[in-house]
Symmetry: D2
Subunit: 310 residues, 4 copies
């Protein structure tokens, strides 16, 4: 046979599970999008179509919803760990499970003071508005022995309206860009960070606190770096996370340079200087794309280089 089967995986993607927890009249939401990918002894289903080793993707879907009820959702990471362990340990042909989760944040709606007299001040205990901003991410991989947890976020859009320069670069025959000494630096942060935790014997990180802290450090590093290049900002964001969060060994960013071009107003007889508060055109395509990994010294890089689609 001239062809052989390589890496393969299957499962149900994008299970939209919402779990409400009631603490009296006060409710809490967990709102996840869970994708399951399993692999193992799957040669026959590819070669002959025999499904004898195949747990249906429909069953993996049912398991996601049943586990949300049976075990609750403490955090996206903890929920993914439950699921991955279940698939690998309960079915002999399944040797490896990868659970990917997106989480959408909600915040409580503020109620009117006037209303609290009639229906009680607890109205907003079960009314929510979706927070917008970034989507939280995690990916749990388990092969029966070793855990890999890579968490992250996407679509966190940030802007510095000054404290960014770009000059001193290579000029070749195709270079027309003028050097900039005061520009807008804007990006939509996509980041993934890998935890050092790999073994059930190790103490488990506080996943919720870790996420909030990583997000905070990234935002602060973005805001507080006087930037000579987006690469410099990227590195500062990564280093700040590695320096402050012992539980994280590696972080990778994919940062589009969301160009805001100063509009040339000379043809209209107007000045448009940055120092006076300028007008910019926010461009769509093309955009610079800066990607890079920051590692704890001595740690291995394991996050895939391509966060974007091939």
């Amino acid at each position: 046979m001239p062809t052989i089967l390589g890496q393969n995986q299957y499962g149900k993607a994008e299970n939209r599970v919402v779990k409400i927890t009631r603490d009296g009249a006060t409710h809490h939401i967990k709102d996840l999008n869970v994708s399951v990918a399993l692999s193992g002894a799957m040669e026959e289903v590819h070669y002959s179509g025999s499904n004898a080793n195949v747990l249906p993707t429909d069953t993996t879907k049912n398991t996601v919803f049943a586990f949300a009820k049976e075990h609750g959702i403490e955090s996206a990471e903890q929920f993914g760990i439950h699921l991955a362990r279940h698939f690998v340990t309960s079915q002999e042909p399944i040797h490896r499970a990868r659970i990917r989760i997106e989480e959408y944040a909600w915040e409580r709606i503020e109620t009117s003071g006037a209303h609290s007299g009639a229906a009680g001040a607890d109205e907003a205990r079960h009314s929510f508005v979706r927070k917008g901003q970034e989507t939280r991410l995690t990916q749990i991989t388990y092969d029966g022995e070793r855990w890999e947890v890579v968490s992250g976020l996407k679509d966190l859009t940030v802007m510095n309206s000054t404290d960014s320069e770009f000059w001193g670069y290579i000029k070749d025959k195709y270079t027309t860009l003028k050097e900039a000494y005061d520009r807008i630096l804007a990006t939509s942060v996509a980041a993934r960070w890998r935890f050092g935790w790999t073994d059930d014997e190790q103490p488990v990180p506080d996943w919720e606190q870790s996420y909030e802290q990583v997000r905070k450090h990234m935002l602060q590093a973005f805001a507080e770096t006087y930037s000579l290049s987006l690469q410099q900002t990227l590195y500062q964001m990564g280093a700040r996370v590695i320096d402050h969060r012992d539980e994280i060994d590696e972080i990778r960013f994919s940062l589009p340079n969301s160009h805001h071009f100063l509009v040339d107003m000379e043809p209209f007889g107007l000045k448009n200087d940055t120092a006076d508060g300028a007008v910019y055109i926010a461009a769509d395509r093309p955009y610079g794309l800066i990607e890079g990994t920051v590692l704890r010294d001595g740690c291995e890089a394991r996050i895939p280089v391509d966060l974007t689609n091939l």
Copy 2:
């Protein structure tokens, strides 16, 4: 000639204008997406291709950016009024202008206390994170005499995790739905509201305050209505706005019923009761779609019925 020209309009759509205002080291952002549509004596450009009456769409684009510099952007509504007046009064063949604007909100990044010693506590004065949540909208129409201002928002996603029922409806031979006495009510609010202001002689509303107040009243009405149908909630949201905001005569909503179905866990031997905190599947399509207008008594309905694309 058997065919004739009907209503027509043209202009540059989706001009992404960003204006930074500097107040010392403290910066402010206005981030808009501005679309221009002009109409008037445009028969010839359709019949013969003569552009003698056509102000190029490229010029309308330039005007948007130049006006942001010349006049600043006090509010989306005020900016649209400046633009509409300019096009109608400066070019004789242009009889009517419609300016549509989307506005994206930003909030300041919180800085680290530790950092303020070194670089000053003012770092976050020019660092921002996009707020997410809803997109603010406005549409300004001017024909040289009369103004129409319709503002609004889209993509404001809200959820009540209880206090929603649905029963007592018509049952025909195609009805299989079971009545619900405790369900999730979730939607993504799209709304448009029309101001009573139509004339330069009238006092101009405070556009920024009005937006914040309308948004607040809609959210509170959503949270505080014990709902027997999404239509009831829609009406309460609209009535609350009309009751509290004298400057607004009419409001229209397009509210998808974002279904969260209780997962049937009987096959797994599990109970999934709402009272205990239940697990739901968030569905995509199909979805209920509830649309309606609420009017101040005596006012004419002028907001188009179809906020969605035909």
Copy 3:
């Protein structure tokens, strides 16, 4: 009561119904996305939450699928007519129904000659590839007496690589555009056309043939018009349809001017003339947007002006 209810409608949107018809081993697909909007005596559901007059949106969904089985899908228009008539005539409180349908086209996969020996040359009788290109649209409205059928399409992307000019326009102080004597003209056609058919007594148009012919005439008019402005092309496209298709009284277009800018290569010492075959940058935003209606003389304009979202 200071507020009153205005126009309102409700129903299930985006029912994705696929009907396979088997003619022996040869199968046929109808692949639709059907949205139902009903209106009538719906005051109480808004004011008090009583659902006594409400046929649930879930029931409207069931009806769509049941009708696909009971009546088949001869054409999107015919299917919409069946549905609209049913809702208005079967439930007293429902006075008006609007059915919107998107249709996705499929074509047969070509089979290999080699294979036909083994499994028969009829393999491709039930294997399809989605055609891509435009999405076909229709909207059926019925109030118990009068029909309105507006069909259309969206996302039909076309380009003329020459035979387009743009000059002789108004120049004001914000005009910087240079006149063009040989440019690319590209757009993504969105069109809606209204049929003269309004009454069950009139002969019913051949909906399938009509669609194919309208599409053909629009494409040919686009290709065969030497264009001095996109407005001129729009009018020619509309006039060609009205001239050739007696069943259609009115057509409206929304045509983005998908700018392809000639790249300035002077800084690189290169010429980039259109006559030699040039290189263009395809821009995203902003874009010109040209909208207009072409009418059969003597007919009333009834297609809404705004095909885009407010």
Copy 4:
């Protein structure tokens, strides 16, 4: 220093280049979306912000457009090879270039016979309609010595309306799925295939012909496989390509199982059997996701496992 820099790359993404080639009145289009990613001696720009080794992303953009003019676009692959070679060989600090290209296909508009008298039968020589269907992809990677060319496609939507079964799978306590003996099998093909060509000394494949043939074999294998699982179909599609195309060593697929569920019509007193031509609901989420690699025996797997975003 506790943190170090890992893999990094940068460049301009999504350069939308359109090249018209004129052969008298007959024009040809190449319509590409080109993304550049460069890496090399980039430590300093991350650590200190020095751009001394940085060729600006703006320059990489200019180079894409200039090369389209200077060298033309024979094929996406050939164009990517030109660009990658240029970046790696012309700038000492750049050690590796990765060029990703999306290509959009166009076909000629059919003209009316009537028109050919006036303007000539050659009208359609420069009028095009975008083909829709799949987007062609390629990725060229070059490190100064070795080439890697991975081509592919995405969004090729296909359906078999019969000849698909699914049964004989594992049943656990969460399994509720019923076995199916006649179901719809539909997917949206995403595929990437790697060429054996790695060295300038080797004969270069005919990139255009290769693409057409790979696409044809994939479609035919999809249509001609009587399927007991989507995995089996995936393997047949891959094996058919490897068997017929010597230039390709490896192919990977990501195939969503686009569920078409048979609608239960028993509550309406209707039968909905597949044999009679049934009605299905096309579901969105969740969906099965089947991914796998097929290799030429003896070849190494080099296409990344994750074609989807992390």
